[in-house]
């Protein structure tokens, strides 16, 4: 009798354990990686904190339903110190050891590019946050099957600027000054020129300089003689401030426009009155009502303000949850397939992933105008 009782007790225990195991299987593990130490630590911590906060909120609201079954989400985060080699190691660990079904991050293009082969062999999709280099998702004209991103790419900004200049500001004659020794600047220039011409505008001057130059008056004088409506300046704040000052000294009153290389506290102190009334393209506006709720929740939970990265990883989580809901099975391959047809509205704008590029196509960019030495959000704008 006693033996039978013991056997029964063991059986009951086994059933309970197996039940426990079955309950554990209702958790979906999602990987995150980025820099939690080193000089990019501010952004890494901001991203991981946002992921943890959102997963808690999702689980508290009942979790995510995948193929008719309810799951809760668990975040597994590792520090790659902003290092490309370490990124590869961390992704290997996430896919083989932790068996995550998707990975969020990293923010840097240099860390997002080398992880593709591991993702492909493990069949686990990754959604990069602020990695804007085109090569993160497309290499040699071929899309990488498991790499996605939530931000727009560098050349796209050029297209947005062209559209805004032509459609909203009503410019018909544009001049471009760009840095011939910088990929970022060249990319923006190329897409600005192509799109501005396509819309029916005319490029009256296309001038360049190279990094380290401090005098732009010869180019600006040439631009001045062509009398454009707008000057597009796709480079970084230091050269923006110098060239804007020199343009004003030459008596040029045109509106100037640039990309996300502009926003910096130093642009205002160096450029001053010269950049007043000018526009630039950014990923989002911090005062946009769409982001206010997330911003407030983050501040309440962690006691500090969120950074640019937080907004983008927020939308990466939205993308993932949407894909999970539509996936046939809770595994990496199905999620990757679902991610390809993403079409959602995030707090940073509309996110419609193109299967050919795995980039959010036609994503809204924020147009910012400098008024009274402050960055003032104008409107969201998407290139067609």
């Amino acid at each position: 009798m006693r033996v039978r009782n013991i056997v029964a007790a063991i059986l009951v225990a086994l059933v309970l354990i197996s039940c426990g195991g079955a309950q554990k299987a209702d958790v979906i593990k999602v990987g995150w990686f980025g820099a939690l130490t080193g000089d990019q630590a501010v952004w890494g911590n901001n991203e991981f904190n946002t992921v943890k906060m959102l997963f808690e909120e999702i689980n508290a609201a009942g979790g995510v339903t995948v193929a008719g079954k309810v799951y809760t989400l668990e975040a597994v985060g590792y520090d790659n110190k902003g290092d490309a080699q370490e990124a590869v190691n961390v992704v290997r660990r996430l896919t083989s050891q932790d068996k995550v079904i998707a990975i969020l991050g990293p923010n840097a293009s240099g860390n997002a590019i080398p992880i593709a082969p591991i993702l492909e062999s493990a069949k686990v999709p990754d959604i990069a946050t602020v990695a804007t280099n085109p090569k993160v998702t497309v290499l040699d004209g071929k899309v990488k099957p498991y790499n996605f991103r939530v931000c727009f790419i560098d050349p796209y900004q050029g297209a947005v600027a062209a559209g805004y200049a032509y459609e909203v500001l009503g410019s018909r004659k544009a001049a471009v000054l760009y840095d011939v020794s910088d990929d970022y600047s060249q990319g923006l220039r190329q897409f600005f020129v192509e799109n501005f011409k396509k819309l029916g505008g005319e490029i009256v001057a296309d001038e360049s300089f190279k990094s380290g130059d401090v005098d732009f008056r010869p180019q600006l004088s040439k631009i001045k003689s062509q009398n454009p409506d707008i000057i597009f300046m796709p480079y970084f704040f230091k050269e923006v401030a110098l060239s804007a000052n020199q343009a004003r000294e030459l008596g040029m009153t045109q509106v100037m426009m640039g990309g996300d290389g502009w926003p910096s506290e130093q642009l205002i102190s160096m450029g001053g009155a010269a950049v007043e009334g000018c526009y630039f393209v950014n990923h989002l506006d911090y005062d946009d009502p769409d982001v206010a709720d997330y911003k407030a929740r983050y501040l309440k939970k962690y006691g500090i303000e969120t950074e640019l990265n937080g907004y983008l990883v927020h939308d990466a989580v939205l993308m993932l949850v949407d894909a999970l809901k539509r996936a046939d099975k809770p595994d990496g391959e199905s999620v990757a397939k679902a991610l390809e047809s993403t079409n959602i509205k995030g707090i940073t704008g509309k996110i419609a992933i193109s299967p050919e590029t795995h980039n959010p196509e036609g994503k809204d960019a924020a147009i910012i105008k400098i008024i009274g030495g402050k960055y003032k959000f104008q409107q969201k704008y998407a290139a067609k």
């Binding site: 011939v180 190279k210 401090v214 005098d215 008056r217 010869p218 180019q219 000052n245």
Partner: protein, 292 residues
């Protein structure tokens, strides 16, 4: 036509920036026969001296200007004592001087990055950002003032070298240092004075650069162009340095304005190489010895 005049004004203005630096190079070269690559670092210090004199000590512009060029004169002499004098005493080859100069230049840039930081700083507005318009040609106030002050300084320098006893000693040492020493010229003192003069010019250039292009640790890198201008005009010759600088400024501007801004440096430097092929000593250079 309006554009041509404007481009000439731009070219003169850029050329006078180069000239301020090129004269400092040439002055040291005429005595020491090596290119003082630390000159860019001294210019950068001049920009910082002037900036902090105005913002921290709240000095008016003329006083800050004086602080800057006295400070850089002292700095240039200190560099000479530490980096070049030991080499001079050992009769080291000229290559060693150049390496020592590069070391000094890297040291100066990095000490600013490590202590003050790599950020950009903007001078308080002294002359205003507006420009004087002559018809359709705009001339910056700062450019005009810079042009006048540089011209006065360069004229003063020429007078000093031509008319004073020390100036004559400099000339003698430039011609032949050993012979000058044998004739009783204290060449060590001459070298010191030359570095002090070069340092003063660097300080003046530094303040103007800082006002024109903001202050940052790499501002001394603009000196690469002025070094080329000094070679073009003829190293060791002060009028040559001025002429070379103004010509380089105008060539660059015209190439950018009428040919292609992408090829601005390329075409400008091909012209310079062309001149040097036919006149290896530059436009006004005298010596034909092979000097670095």
């Amino acid at each position: 036509m309006a554009q041509f005049l404007q481009q000439m004004v731009n070219g003169l203005s850029i050329g006078s920036v180069y000239a301020l630096m090129a004269v400092g190079y040439s002055l040291v070269y005429s005595i020491m026969n090596f290119s003082n690559f630390a000159h860019g670092g001294v210019i950068m210090f001049g920009a910082y001296f002037g900036f902090f004199a105005m913002t921290q000590l709240k000095l008016p512009f003329p006083a800050a200007f004086a602080v800057a060029f006295v400070g850089t004169a002292v700095l240039a002499v200190v560099i000479e004592r530490i980096a070049y004098k030991p080499l001079r005493e050992r009769n080291a080859p000229f290559l060693y001087f150049i390496i020592s100069a590069m070391g000094a230049s890297i040291f100066l840039e990095n000490i600013i990055i490590a202590t003050i930081g790599p950020t950009f700083r903007t001078y308080p507005d002294v002359f205003g950002r507006t420009s004087i318009s002559l018809g359709s040609v705009a001339i910056g106030r700062l450019d005009l003032i810079m042009f006048v002050i540089s011209a006065v300084c360069l004229a003063g320098l020429v007078l000093f070298i031509e008319k004073t006893k020390i100036g004559r000693a400099i000339q003698a040492s430039a011609y032949n240092m050993k012979a000058a020493a044998l004739m009783g010229v204290n060449t060590d003192r001459v070298v010191m004075i030359v570095f002090a003069l070069g340092g003063m010019l660097a300080g003046i250039a530094g303040v103007f650069f800082g006002m024109k292009y903001t202050v940052y640790p790499q501002i001394g890198n603009i000196t690469t162009k002025s070094f080329v201008a000094a070679v073009f005009g003829g190293l060791g010759s002060l009028p040559g340095a001025v002429l070379g600088s103004v010509l380089l400024g105008i060539i660059e501007t015209l190439v950018a304005g009428y040919l292609s801004s992408q090829f601005r440096d390329l075409i400008a430097f091909v012209i310079l190489i062309g001149v040097l092929v036919f006149r290896p000593t530059g436009i006004m250079g005298k010596t034909t010895e092979d000097k670095a």
